[in-house]
């Protein structure tokens, strides 16, 4: 059964006074309005959230939101897949409609993080690592530093190529009113910023963010009755890789990206050459290269050349992260994958405003942990 997306929304990302309850309900309400769906039409509700218990002592967020939005007695479930909770929510929402279990499914992702210190937030996120890694004080940024050094040394890539990812995504974020930073940065600023995990500096990392995003899924048949402006989920798949990062055969290959994108392409009957735009999980600049290679757009060790050539700019061969990416849009863990879906939906239905590119086929790649789990989604514009 064809599954369509008929509405989407996103709160302003950044440092917000609102707690998780208000963030989720704000995006949920706006999505109901955008899709022109009443709460009582919603049959399944999925809430993507990694750690509201650890961040603010709030558990059971799916029941909270079901009640606050008035979607009762809809089936409600919280989806936790760490940083890829949002992508996993897209997968769950797709399954719920494709299986026939639900005709109208609302997905809302959100996280409230900025009230914690950077150290506390880093520790919550680092708690996903194996005890043998955690006790050494390893953090997700330090995995990025370890991988970036290996990539630059092995493929003889210039340090500037990583800074170009940051500069590009900040530039794209200027046109996104929901982004945490709507501010361009220079190469000099990126290359001179403080070291966080050598060789990576402050501007190689996404910020800590509060925010929420939502999408409405229904059958393609029902979508046609409701609107002309919809997108179709033509491919979606998830995969895992080792929890312990150093156990991977090749530190520069994200197996979860390779496997999930392969399955998503097969389901959609498409390949990397068919993509018009993509949202990649640039939690760290190096991840944009690993994903461009993992989804088959670039050969191993060559994605840095795309950054240097401008191929991934908004007016380039394949625009990457037109939303500003996690880098400038922000990364509220459970919301990020949903926000990627919101961006490619808006691109496909022509609602991306100043960020709009020509796009009939789009891909979103949402990475959990340091590639521990990955969801790849392909959406196409309605014919």
């Amino acid at each position: 059964m064809g599954v369509a997306v008929i509405g989407a929304s996103m709160t302003k990302f950044g440092q917000r006074d609102a707690w998780i309850r208000e963030l989720l309900s704000q995006a949920g309400e706006e999505c109901l309005d955008d899709a022109d769906v009443t709460p009582k039409e919603v049959e399944h509700l999925y809430v993507s959230n990694m750690a509201s218990g650890e961040f603010e002592g709030q558990t059971g967020v799916m029941n909270m939101l079901a009640h606050d939005l008035g979607v009762l007695p809809a089936y409600a479930e919280r989806v936790d897949q760490t940083s890829s909770s949002g992508g996993a929510g897209i997968y769950e929402a797709w399954q719920s409609v494709a299986s026939g279990a639900s005709d109208m499914t609302l997905l809302v992702g959100g996280e409230k993080m900025t009230h914690k210190t950077t150290g506390e937030a880093t520790d919550i996120i680092a708690s996903i690592t194996h005890p043998e890694e955690y006790k050494h004080g390893v953090t997700l940024p330090s995995f990025a530093g370890l991988t970036a050094r290996h990539y630059l040394e092995r493929f003889d890539a210039p340090r500037e190529s990583l800074a170009r990812v940051a500069v590009k995504n900040h530039k794209n974020g200027v046109d996104n009113p929901k982004a945490q930073f709507q501010k361009e940065i220079t190469m000099e600023k990126a290359l001179d910023s403080p070291i966080i995990a050598d060789p990576l500096r402050l501007y190689d990392f996404c910020p800590i963010t509060d925010g929420s995003a939502a999408m409405m899924f229904t059958t393609e048949e029902r979508a046609k009755e409701i609107t002309d402006e919809y997108a179709v989920v033509s491919g979606v798949a998830g995969a895992t890789d080792t929890q312990v990062v150093h156990e991977r055969d090749d530190p520069t290959v994200m197996g979860g990206v390779v496997e999930s994108s392969k399955q998503a392409y097969e389901m959609a009957g498409l390949g990397p050459d068919d993509l018009d735009v993509a949202e990649l999980h640039d939690m760290f600049t190096i991840l944009e290269f690993l994903q461009l290679e993992g989804i088959g757009v670039a050969d191993q060790g060559t994605a840095w050349e795309m950054a240097m050539d401008g191929a991934t700019e908004k007016d380039g061969e394949l625009p990457i992260n037109t939303s500003g990416g996690l880098k400038s849009k922000g990364h509220p863990l459970g919301a990020s994958g949903v926000a990627q879906g919101v961006e490619i939906y808006e691109q496909l239905v022509g609602e991306a405003g100043p960020r709009q590119v020509e796009a009939d086929t789009a891909l979103a790649c949402n990475v959990g942990g340091f590639g521990n789990c990955v969801i790849t989604t392909i959406m196409e514009a309605a014919e």
């Binding site: 050494h136 390893v138 953090t139 330090s142 370890l146 991988t147 070291i195 050598d198 156990e247």
Partner: protein
């Protein structure tokens, strides 16, 4: 306290050990103590934004041991900030790698071990 790698009946070796081999799913019944041998630095980083209870800066390296011809990697703190890719290092035992009374796991510090091995350039 050992630096123990696990091996399954098919000869796949991993560090740390797992109940089942990550490559083939067979039980890992053999172990190898890596603490007495040297390894080579594959990559390293110096982390300046560390969580509560962790030294700052925290220099970390992924190193590679040779176990019967098979490359086995491990991650750990480095004893010094002066390290380069390709350096030879030896494991040095430390009682406490980070403060177990601080941070998210401080509610149940007994949930895991806190001692382990740092890499000391030879």
């Amino acid at each position: 306290m050992t630096l123990e790698a696990g091996e399954c009946p098919n000869g796949h070796v991993s560090y740390p050990t797992h109940p089942r081999c990550p490559e083939c799913g067979e039980p890992q019944e053999e172990t190898h103590d890596l603490s007495g041998q040297t390894a080579e630095v594959v990559t390293w980083t110096k982390s300046t934004a560390t969580p509560p209870g962790v030294r700052q800066p925290n220099t970390l390296a992924i190193v590679e041991f040779d176990v019967d011809g098979e490359a086995v990697r491990a991650l750990g703190q480095v004893t010094t900030e002066d390290v380069e890719t390709g350096d030879e290092v030896e494991p040095v035992h430390v009682e406490e790698l980070r403060d177990p009374e601080v941070g998210l796991k401080s509610e149940n510090p007994e949930s895991q071990e806190w001692g382990g091995y740092r890499w000391d350039p030879v």
